[in-house]
């Protein structure tokens, strides 16, 4: 469990940042807490805040969250063998708490020959509790800061996205996809295109990976 501390620390910081930027964007404390309680997905929650503050249509918010989280299909598929012994309710509970972080920790644990699902549940639920507490702390701080643009706090969400993208890059094709998506989306936004067009550009960019040789 010891190797989980950096992940827990990052969760605390990112969760607090989420609470701050969500509060600064004008969302109500109950709505922000609701996102962390029910959606429980870091990058998508930041995306929701940004899209809601741009007054994007509800369907676009939900579709963007779906796109960002589609990768969980792959993660859950790779963990399926380990949870197969659980009854359906247990598997659904395990699925609710599945995040990039709990997936990475569980995969490491099982690759080292670990068999116990308790490891997964303890870690995944700890992340959930911490994420929600950090969100509330951020909401409290965000309410006290005042005008977000004065301290550059409004840029925290963009900086978080950039960091997520940089850390997620594995192959040269990822860099091409990220730059293409960002440039096309930025150009569309400057031209006055709707959020729908911007998200569609993002959803099309990974086709580069499908056709790239390596």
């Amino acid at each position: 469990m010891g190797e989980g501390w950096p992940v827990l620390g990052t969760t605390l910081v990112v969760g607090t940042t989420f609470g701050v930027v969500a509060r600064q964007s004008g969302l109500q404390p109950l709505e922000i807490a609701g996102m962390s309680i029910f959606v429980f997905a870091g990058a998508s929650q930041f995306a929701m805040v940004q899209l809601l503050s741009e007054k994007a249509p509800t369907a676009i918010v939900i579709a963007s969250v779906l796109f960002i989280n589609l990768r969980h299909l792959l993660m859950a598929t790779s963990l399926r063998a380990q949870v197969q012994a659980l009854p359906l309710v247990g598997r659904l509970v395990a699925a609710f708490f599945l995040t990039d972080e709990s997936f990475a920790m569980a995969t490491g644990h099982f690759r080292r020959g670990g068999r116990s699902l308790a490891y997964y549940f303890v870690f995944a639920v700890s992340l959930y509790v911490l994420w929600n507490l950090a969100t509330l702390a951020g909401v409290a701080i965000g309410g006290a800061i005042g005008d977000p643009r004065r301290f550059g706090v409004d840029f925290a969400i963009t900086a978080t996205f950039i960091g997520i993208v940089v850390l997620a890059i594995r192959r040269p094709a990822d860099i091409v996809i990220a730059i293409a998506a960002a440039l096309v989306a930025g150009g569309l936004a400057l031209a006055g295109a709707s959020t729908i067009a911007v998200i569609t550009a993002g959803a099309l960019a990974p086709l580069i990976a499908v056709f790239a040789r390596r």
Partner: protein, 99 residues
């Protein structure tokens, strides 16, 4: 409306997390589909970054955001730390906007 977005997003997220645990799908995804799914989050998040950097608050940037974005990329690539990147980005944007 916001609560519909929250519950809709919650359902969408739970669906993709639970589907492989709940039902058994025979066979494997074709390579192209799985490469698409793997690259999708990076692309969607990058698509959210682009407009926020070139047109924050729906108007052409005065230069602070692109410079700060470059600093964030450099910091995260160098330190491999999200936190360091966010701190550098926020401080840089706050300073650059004063110029």
């Amino acid at each position: 409306m916001i609560w519909i977005a929250i519950f809709g997003s919650a359902v969408a997220t739970f669906l993709v997390r639970s589907l492989p645990f709940a039902v058994t799908i025979r066979g494997r995804l074709p390579g192209g589909a799985s490469r698409y799914l793997e690259a999708l989050p990076v692309a969607i998040i990058a698509a959210l970054v682009g407009p926020a950097v070139v047109a924050p608050a729906s108007a052409l940037t005065h230069g602070a955001e692109p410079v700060a974005a470059a600093l964030v990329i450099a910091t995260v690539a160098w330190r491999r730390s999200l936190l360091a990147g966010v701190i550098v980005g926020v401080v840089a944007v706050a300073l650059l906007r004063m110029i």
